[in-house]
Structures are given as C-alpha cells and as structure tokens.
C-alpha cells in the first residue's frame, strides 16, 4: 500500500491514486443530490399528470403517509452514517403505539401513556445500544433480533384487539392539517427535526465526529472521539424518535394495533439510502434525505391516486432501494467486468 502513496507523482495528481471506493467525495455527494432534484421534478411531473394531484389534500396526505417514515429516517440516517444499521425501527413504532393504547385503555392519562411509550422507546434503543456499542455485537444481527423482540412484545399486549377511543383533540392530526394549513402535524415535526439534524450533522463538532466514525472509526477513536458512547446514544435517540413516530401513527389512524407499521423498515431504510447516505457509512446529507422523503411522498401519493396496491408500491420502493446502492458501486463493478473480459482475451 505504502508503495503507491509514497510515489512522488501522487502530489500532483490526486484522483486515481485512491481506491474507487474511497473516491466518492463531497463532489459526488453534490452530484447525487442534483440527481435527486431531477428525479423529484420528474416525480412531480408524474404526479401533476394524475387527476386531482395538484391540491392541498395531496400535500396533507403526503405528510399523512410519509410523516412517521420521515421522522424515523432522521435518526436512522445518523446510524447509517456511522456505519451501523437499525432494522428494529418499525417494530418500535408498533410497540410504542400498542403500549400507549393499552395504558390509555387501562385508564391512564393519555399524556402519561405517551410518556411511558417514549420511555420504552428509550429503553428499547438502550438495549440495542448496549448490545452493539458496549458488547460489540454486529448491529445487523442485534436489530434483526429486536425487530422480532419489540414486535413480539407488542403482540401479547393487545393481541388481535385494537384501541380506538383516543381523544378526538389528538386524533384530528389524522384528519386535517395544523394551524389551518394543509401541512400535517407530522410534517411540521419532521421539518423542525430536519433543521435541527441538519445543523447538528453539518456544523457541529458532534456532527463532524459522526463523519469521522463512519469513515474510519479507528482514527476517530485515536482523535479522542468517544465512539462507543456516541453509538449508544444514537440508538437511544432512534428508539425515542421511533416511539414518538409510533404515537403519531396510532393517533393519526385513531387506532392502536400491535401490527401497525409492519414492514415499514423497508421504507425507512430506502428513504435513507436513496437520499444518498452511504451504506458503508461516512457519507450523506440531511438535504439529500429530505429530497428523498419528498420523492417517495410524491410517488406514493401519485400511485395511491391511480389505485396502485400498497404491496405493489413496495416493488417500486424495493427497486429504488436497489438503485440507490447499486449506482454508487456500479462504476466500479463495470470496471471490474471490463478488466475481467480483458484478462480472458
């Protein structure tokens, strides 16, 4: 390795020296986001081609459909940034909504029930965090485990029942926008959170350390960054925000069920990766994720208007997910194939 680096030529010509996987820089991130803007325009164009798309209702339903996914995508984005994953997000959404419903049914004050759900979110996140950050277990395995565990804990709480008599003052977030606008409550929450996340990730020492951890966690540790502690708290944050998303989910549907949001982890992971966050960590912008949310929202609304079955919408989401991981790697794959064919000549 050192042979390559120490060659004097390198000083003048930076690019090809580094392995392709390391070459994606800020520039390529910008390119990815420009691409997203083009896709967004195309998606909007597709949307406006559908009848009744250009309306306040569409804006509301975009928030209605995407709000919780978008909120869960923000902490997941940070987790992917540091090179880990959290597949338990949708199960936490189910557990928290179920718990809130159950406690409310048992006569708890609704706000206390919400608080309890958030605490459980924090605990669930802490469980992930301890296993991953302190014990050093692979996050894939751990969060596949908690995906089952959280949903599995929600299941016996309510069984096949649902709770649906939440106060109308709260469930109205599922019926109309806030402050007389067409923006859903979850949209407003997402916008506020996205601004906070954007500033923290891109302008604070903490945010910078996330990039460092994702790109080279060893070097981050040697720079005095407390990698394990940060990892732990990111999972706690994810747990809390997913629990919050679960509360919103139950309220907007005016119904809490143990299986609410089953499979949403696909949407959340897809939104994050399509937003240009590298699955290998260290690369991504909040702006990209926001664009990704808008694209998914637009597509989903348009597809719903023309009556495409949600299961089939999943095909499109799955394909978008594949595209977003294959394109950054595609150039290298092509080069490899070309090299192989040249070899065999």
């Amino acid at each position: 390795m050192s042979d390559i680096v120490a060659t004097p030529v390198l000083k003048k010509s930076p690019n090809g020296a580094v392995p392709p996987s390391e070459r994606l820089s800020l520039r390529s991130a910008v390119r990815w986001e420009s691409g997203l803007i083009v896709v967004l325009i195309a998606a909007l164009w597709f949307g406006f081609a559908q009848p009744n798309f250009a309306s306040g209702t569409t804006v509301f339903f975009m928030g209605y459909n995407m709000g919780e996914i978008a909120i869960m995508a923000l902490p997941l984005m940070l987790i992917v940034m540091i090179g880990e994953i959290d597949l338990s997000v949708a199960s936490m959404l189910g557990l928290s909504g179920t718990l809130m419903g159950l406690l409310f049914q048992d006569g708890w004050n609704i706000y206390l029930a919400m608080l309890a759900a958030l605490v459980v979110g924090a605990l669930g996140g802490a469980l992930n965090g301890v296993l991953i950050a302190k014990l050093g277990l692979p996050s894939i395995a751990v969060t596949i485990g908690t995906l089952g565990l959280f949903r599995g804990l929600a299941e016996p709480l309510l069984g096949a029942n649902s709770v649906s008599n939440f106060p109308a003052s709260l469930t109205k977030i599922g019926a109309a926008g806030v402050f007389g606008t067409h923006f859903s409550f979850s949209t407003v929450v997402f916008v506020v959170l996205a601004i906070i996340f954007g500033v923290v990730l891109h302008a604070t020492p903490f945010g910078r350390s996330l990039f460092a951890i994702g790109l080279q966690s060893e070097a981050a540790r040697f720079s005095g960054i407390r990698v394990d502690r940060i990892k732990f708290w990111l999972y706690v944050l994810s747990g809390v925000l997913c629990a919050f998303a679960g509360i919103l989910f139950s309220l907007k549907n005016a119904s809490a069920r143990y299986d609410q949001g089953t499979g949403l982890e696909l949407n959340v992971v897809a939104v994050v990766l399509f937003g240009g966050v590298s699955i290998f960590g260290g690369r991504g912008t909040v702006f990209g994720v926001v664009l990704s949310v808008l694209i998914f929202g637009t597509l989903q609304s348009a597809m719903t208007i023309i009556n495409i079955d949600p299961q089939i919408q999943n095909i499109i989401i799955g394909v978008l997910l594949l595209i977003s991981v294959i394109i950054p790697n595609g150039g290298e794959a092509l080069r490899r194939i070309r090299a192989r064919t040249r070899r065999s000549v």
């Binding site: 390198l10 010509s13 930076p14 020492p205 350390s209």
Partner: protein, 500 residues
C-alpha cells in the same frame, strides 16, 4: 544455468500514479535472493505482480522459460509461485491443516475430503519444519510467529518452485528466524528459488546469495552479496548519504513530563517504568510485536491496562480515557497512519482540525474560517505540500500525510508527543524533514516519546533509548551508550539467557 523466474521491465500504474517504473528481477534455482529497497520503492507492487494480485501494464514475466500471464492468484499458485505475506493470511475459523491445504485437500473415494490424510500430511510438513503444531486446532488464537509457520508450511506443501517472503521475520524471535533460514536452505537444496524481503540487513547477509536493490519504483542493481557492504546497500537504497537524515541538537533535558510506573497489561507488557523529560527524545526500541505500540496506546488511554500508574505533569491519569490524556497534554501520532492517524476521505483541513474541534467552535458551531486558518497555519509551519485544503487527505503523499497528523496534534500544543514509527512509508526527503521538525520541537521544550523499528532513526534522534523485549523493559541507555549492537542485543536476546 537457466533462470527459474524472470521479471523484465515490469511497469504498473494505479490511475495516474506510477507505483512501478521498472521492476526487474531474475531468480535462479537454488538461490536465496534478497529484494531490498525503502518503503515505497515498489517492492510490494512487484511481489503482488508475482502473486497474480496485480497485472503488470507492460513487461514480461517468465517462469521456467515460459512466458506467463497470471489471471489471478490461483494462476500464480498453479505456476509454482508461493507468497508469504508480511501479514499472515489465514482463515481463523478453520483448522491449521485445512489452512495449509485449502483448495487442494487430499481426497478419497472421488470428491470427499480425506481428513485423516490431510492431518497426516500437515504433520509431515511440520516435522520437516521441525515444529510441533496440532494440525486439528483452529487457526484462531495462534501467535503471529505460529501463523507465519503455518504460512511457510503452506508454501512448503505446495512444493513451490519460487517462494517469495515479504518481511517474514518481523514478528519472529531469533530462534524462529534461524529455523526459517534452515527451511530456506532445505528448499534451495531441492532446487527452489527463494526471494527474501527484509529490512534487517544482517539477516540478508546471513541467508542470501544475491541482492537486488530498488528505489522509487526502479531497478537499481543486482549483485552477489559478497561484493557488497551494508553501506553500499544503504547508499543504493536511499540514493544519498545517511548523515543528513538525522539533524540532532543536543539540549539539556528539563523537568519530568511523563512518568510511567510499573505499567502492566496481562499478556501484553509487564512492569514498564520510565520517565520522559522536557526537551528530550526518548526512543522506545524493540522488535515488532514486543509491546512498544501497546505501551503507547495504554499511556494515551486507547487500551486499558491492569496495573501501574501514568502521571503527566504531576497529574495521575485514569485508565482508558483518551480525552483526559489529551486534556492533560498528551498527543499520540499512531503507528498506522491510514487507519488510526487520519480519516483518509476527510479533507486536509478537517483532518488537521479533528482533535481541536471544540476550540474551533463558536456557540457550538464549527467555525469554518478558524478551521481553515488553523490548517493553513500548520501547513505553512510544517511546509506541507498540497493542492487544495479541501482535497481529501488521501490525495497527499505518505510524507505529507504524516505532516498532517503531526499538525493535527501539534495544534493542540501538547507537552508530550508520543510518535509511533514517525517515518514509516515516507520518502527519504520528507523523512529528513520530519526529523528536523521533531528536533525543533524538542529544542522548544517539548517531551517526545518515539517508537521506531528503524535502528538508524533510533540512534540518530534519541537522547535516551529504552528497549522492550517480549513485553518487558530490557535496557535503558543514554545516547552515548546506545549503538547498533547494544540495542539489537537488548531487543533480541533470548529470555533464557537474560535470566542468568
């Protein structure tokens, strides 16, 4: 006699970077041939071409008179070339025997692997090597030396015509090195050619017949070993005389900055005690794997330790708390620049700023301009050669990368600088610059603890030399007492002898 392997004017570029301009080497049956050159001379690239990992852009490779064109490592292996890498490449979850015979396990009844025969064959190879390893144990947990032995056994079992060894002795003790030389002799007597890469010239003189020297990706010369002296070799490798590499100002050391007492970490190092004062460079010498870097990591707080006390400027440090160590004035320039020292994909200025971010922030937000100014300031002070501050640090040469690591830590104005292998993989010109920087820092009153595997660097730069052998301090010498012989002796002497 017909040569066994000829590599003629091989070139290899990675993008616009020329890693190899002229790689040429000729190996004859029955010879041990040393390939020498500084880090960055192109040796590894040449080895990887022989291994089939890289393919040369131009130039011919001939083995046993036949022009070959390797499509991959498997083709190289099939042609009778066997490589032992510096880092062992074993499969930890598989047994030792399976590691040796992966892909060519003995079969019976068609396609079934015959484990009995495989284990027997492994035992046979081990007995040829004169070692006693259980072929049925997992490779996981083997010491580096034992791993290296498994690698050698692999090569031996292949009946390789050409055996390439890339610094195989770095982690071996004297006895194991001797055994390795015996194996080389056996192989040679069977008509194989051995290519030997090592930084320890005395080993080259002890084991090789001919020497090929490379510099800056180019072939320099090939000559019989008896026609050369160590000085000749070094001059050819470096391309100029050595003296200028080590500027050294002798200063009077001041008060104690770092005090380490009875530092112990079970199985890693034991009872390490020493001091470093203001205005002196203390070198920590010893073999790779002796525990030098581990001591540095424990002092800085990256690794925990079992017992002992670390005091800096009179303040006792807690274990395993790098932030506290940093606040107390310690800086650590780690051994592995690419993994530990730098975040290769972050820009130059972001790397310089990485350890000083809170100081560069206003109201919790990083001030881009202070970040930039800090980096510009240190770039100028350390005479960094770079294109744009916004470029990833990976675009710099090894020497300039090292300057960025130095800048990153000096920006914190530490009172103790721990620097692990300050010039590994750096071109000669920058090497001298790094040494001049260290010398200047000491003159300004900094305390430096330097870990180095390069004896000339240790002897040229240090005011005092500590030697660690197998996790214990085996010598503490003044600049005057330390010479090549005394340091090497302290580093390699077998423990059985030292007990007496």
């Amino acid at each position: 006699m017909e040569p066994l392997l000829v590599l003629d004017h091989a070139t290899k570029s990675f993008g616009p970077v020329r890693a190899l301009e002229n790689g040429s080497v000729t190996l004859y049956p029955g010879e041990a041939h040393a390939l020498l050159g500084e880090n960055g001379a192109g040796k590894s690239t040449l080895v990887k071409i022989l291994a089939g990992v890289h393919r040369q852009d131009s130039g011919d490779l001939t083995i046993a008179g036949e022009l070959v064109n390797f499509s991959g490592p498997a083709a190289s292996k099939a042609a009778g070339v066997s490589i032992i890498y510096q880092e062992p490449t074993l499969f930890p979850d598989l047994t030792v025997a399976e590691n040796i015979f992966m892909g060519r396990q003995p079969l019976r009844g068609g396609r079934r692997i015959d484990r009995g025969a495989m284990n027997k064959a492994a035992t046979a190879v081990f007995s040829r090597l004169g070692v006693d390893l259980d072929p049925e144990r997992l490779a996981k947990g083997l010491s580096v030396a034992d791993q290296q032995i498994v690698e050698i056994a692999k090569a031996l079992s292949l009946d390789a015509k050409v055996l390439v060894m890339d610094e195989p002795t770095a982690a071996l003790t004297q006895v194991e090195v001797q055994r390795l030389f015996d194996v080389m002799k056996t192989l040679r007597s069977q008509g194989a050619a051995v290519m030997f890469i090592s930084h320890r010239l005395e080993e080259v003189f002890a084991s090789c017949q001919r020497v090929t020297i490379m510099r800056d990706g180019n072939f320099v010369s090939t000559a019989p070993i008896e026609d050369l002296t160590i000085d000749d070799i070094i001059r050819s490798m470096v391309g100029r005389n050595l003296e200028s590499l080590f500027p050294k100002t002798i200063t009077e050391p001041g008060k104690v900055v770092l005090e380490v007492e009875h530092l112990t970490s079970a199985g890693v190092f034991t009872d390490i005690s020493f001091q470093v004062r203001r205005g002196e460079i203390v070198a920590l010498a010893g073999l790779v794997g002796a525990g030098r870097s581990e001591v540095a990591r424990a002092i800085f707080g990256i690794d925990p330790y079992d017992s002992g006390v670390v005091t800096i400027n009179g303040k006792v440090l807690h274990r395993n708390a790098p932030r506290e160590s940093m606040a107390a004035g310690i800086a650590l320039v780690p051994e592995d620049r690419r993994q530990q020292g730098l975040v290769m994909d972050l820009s130059i200025d972001q790397n310089v700023a990485l350890a000083s971010l809170s100081r560069l922030s206003k109201g919790g937000l990083i001030s881009r301009s202070s970040e930039r100014n800090l980096a510009l300031d240190w770039a100028q002070r350390l005479q960094l050669r770079y294109g744009k501050m916004r470029n990833p640090v990976a675009t710099l040469s090894g020497g300039n990368q090292q300057k960025v690591v130095l800048g990153k830590w000096l920006a914190r104005n530490p009172s103790l600088l721990i620097i692990d292998e300050p010039t590994r993989g750096i071109d000669v010109g920058t090497k001298a610059e790094v040494h001049r920087i260290l010398d200047g820092l000491v003159a300004e009153g900094m305390a430096i603890l330097m870990i180095s595997s390069e004896l000339p660097e240790v002897l040229g730069m240090a005011d005092r030399v500590l030697v660690i052998r197998e996790g214990r301090l085996s010598a503490n010498m003044s600049r005057a007492e330390a010479d090549e012989d005394s340091v090497m002796r302290a580093a390699t002497l077998q423990s059985t002898e030292s007990i007496v």
